[in-house]
Assembly symmetry: C2
């Protein structure tokens, strides 16, 4: 007899670690990481929860996996460029990627991640700084200072609306919690944001340049 057409792919779409991670990533992007459950991932793939365990060891492994996928989207620093330009590009790319996956920054900061993309990312960063003349110790400190700004800034940003127009609205809805007699400065600032004389948006590059310039002076002194 002729073989059935199912013999090539044993099922219309066989489960795999890759397909599970993609589905989980989709769910996290849509509803945040707290919307991620084994049952929902399974449902997304037309399968029961326990079937996932044939391909991944645990939910933690799934989260580690999608974190590494996201980290893999960050542009690696180019060693052929001036270190400051390379670090700036890397930071801007990281900032952009983390905004696209709002759950990711916290996931990265609250767990130890040693996926391949993360290791490559850190290795290239330290390498770029080392080649620029930083000592091992200073390269390590520089990387830490830059990333402190990337993650700290982005996390603060994610707690607030990104759009300037929404910002004025948000200020308006919060102003009732900020009586002028108790919190005079915050009250005043909120008024400025509400009447549009200031968009309230922060500038990622401002703090980034403070750090990069400081590192530059340190490098020249050495």
């Amino acid at each position: 007899m002729a073989k059935t057409e199912t013999s090539n792919p044993p099922s219309p779409s066989p489960l795999s670690r890759e397909r599970i991670l993609q589905a989980a990533l989709r769910l996290a992007d849509e509803g945040g990481i707290e919307a991620l459950s084994m049952r929902k991932v399974a449902q997304e793939l037309g399968v029961k929860a326990m079937s996932l365990y044939n391909h991944v060891a645990s939910k933690d492994e799934i989260i580690d996996g999608i974190v590494d996928i996201v980290v893999g989207k960050i542009d690696l620093p180019r060693v052929d460029l001036d270190w400051k330009i390379a670090m700036r590009q890397r930071a801007l790319s990281a900032h952009e990627v983390l905004l696209k996956h709002p759950w990711a920054a916290i996931a990265i900061m609250s767990r130890i991640n040693i996926g391949p993309a993360m290791l490559r990312y850190v290795d290239r960063t330290i390498g770029c700084l080392r080649e620029a003349g930083f000592s091992w110790k200073m390269a390590d400190h520089a990387w830490n200072a830059i990333d402190s700004h990337i993650y700290g800034f982005t996390l603060q940003e994610l707690n607030f609306p990104i759009e300037a127009s929404a910002y004025a609205e948000t200020a308006e809805s919060f102003i009732s919690y900020i009586p002028p007699d108790q919190y005079p400065y915050m009250h005043q600032l909120s008024l400025y944001i509400m009447d549009g004389s200031y968009d309230g948006l922060y500038d990622f590059e401002l703090g980034l340049d403070f750090v990069l310039d400081g590192l530059d002076r340190l490098r020249e002194r050495a």
Copy 2:
């Protein structure tokens, strides 16, 4: 008849929002925020879970409450000091407090917090900067840049051992994940940490000063 001795305090230790928050804070400090459940908090107080709802609206309100308690422990910036000194003291105090309550940094960064301690903390910070001559907009940006460093640095730090000796051990346990051919720079750096030629500890004040110095130059230029 004489009144029973229970008439003064109706029970040996009546439940209250305050007592609930203290118990929750204790639990979070001991086992992290994921160890915090309504049932465990209740048990800690010799009571059943649902009784807590007579005093707090939800688990979220408890978390908001303990976050605000922790924020309240941070030294407020003193307006009578030079802004840079005041901001440095505030940052060091925040860093110290966040290390004492390792769950708090993430809780602060991943939720909108408008408790009284937080409002006072932000108000005094903006006020201090405003009195130092920053415009409203620049005061806002300055506050954001400084806090990006505080939270970003502390969160990275919390994922790693604080003790120098533990650092070398940690490097040793992770080195097998870092083959030298794939991650040459990280491998090298790990070796330096393992053999003790570098303690691997980061310096909170390094990045902090980059930000403060950058802000200072901005202020002088205005």
